[in-house]
Symmetry: C2
Subunit: 183 residues, 2 copies
Amino acid sequence: MGMKRKSIAIDMDNVIADIETNWIDKYNNEFGTKITKSDLQGIPEHEAFPDPAAAWNLIYRPGFFRHAPVIQGAQEALSKLQEHFDIFIVSAAMEFPNSLLEKHDWLHEHFPFISWKNIVFCGDKSVIATDYLIDDHLKNLDFCKGMPILFTAGHNVNVTRHKRVNSWVEVLELMEKELENSI
Amino acid sequence: MGMKRKSIAIDMDNVIADIETNWIDKYNNEFGTKITKSDLQGIPEHEAFPDPAAAWNLIYRPGFFRHAPVIQGAQEALSKLQEHFDIFIVSAAMEFPNSLLEKHDWLHEHFPFISWKNIVFCGDKSVIATDYLIDDHLKNLDFCKGMPILFTAGHNVNVTRHKRVNSWVEVLELMEKELENSI
């Protein structure tokens, strides 16, 4: 059919990089607390920690982004999606300049099949034009030019706007349907 | 009239950062040559140097991007343009990961009035949607979604495609006309 491949912008933090787990581990380590994922449900990220300012400071520590675990299923899913879609990793990394190289190196390690040509570090994602955006934040999804897809994270469990996906398995199911509908 | 502000994507290298001068200076310093800007006219950048591989290596040196001079008139022009347009700095920095923080810091020093929200470091600029793109490279201008504007650099003097501007004074003249035409 010679269809034009559609494009998907994919957020990093809490979508392919497990920043939530990373943040909890680092906080518990530092302050001897026993915070778990369930403590963060429905609360804006850093506000969920006993000392929000201390939690915020952890993000600026060298290595914070470099050593985050990968979200389950993300590698296999992106590798499969890449067969049918143009995949762009789009991270609002500019707020944390020290994260730029760490995020690049993290992608290079865990997603070596994503070319540097398909990586975007920005501030405001409204300037990005792709057919889909998979993200955990309304501040990005509400202003995107394509179809917004909300990836479940602790802080967004009560959000009712936008199509929601709870895992990379669900993303694959959704995108398979999108592919069928576009033929 | 409540007009929506139009957006301009602005390239860094050879558009606001004088990479050409920087590169020549570093090369002459290293190899005792006396290359001048006129030697680079109409030739793809690094190929213009006697030893292209050595020239290419200079780009990867720490500090290469951090200490580039500012293109004449860029600061005043961007400051003025910002009154009427949404300005985004869009640099294909991902090819040189070590340049990411250097470019961020350079912008912070020389263009402190540009917010981190308006900075984009990417690979392929075709994913950026702005009303205008000011750039020195056809690989970016040919695929942009808005109006392409070719900023003169040594390597592109023979290019005949796209509206050409030779200086930031000419950019201001052009954008003033665009603004009048859009009212």
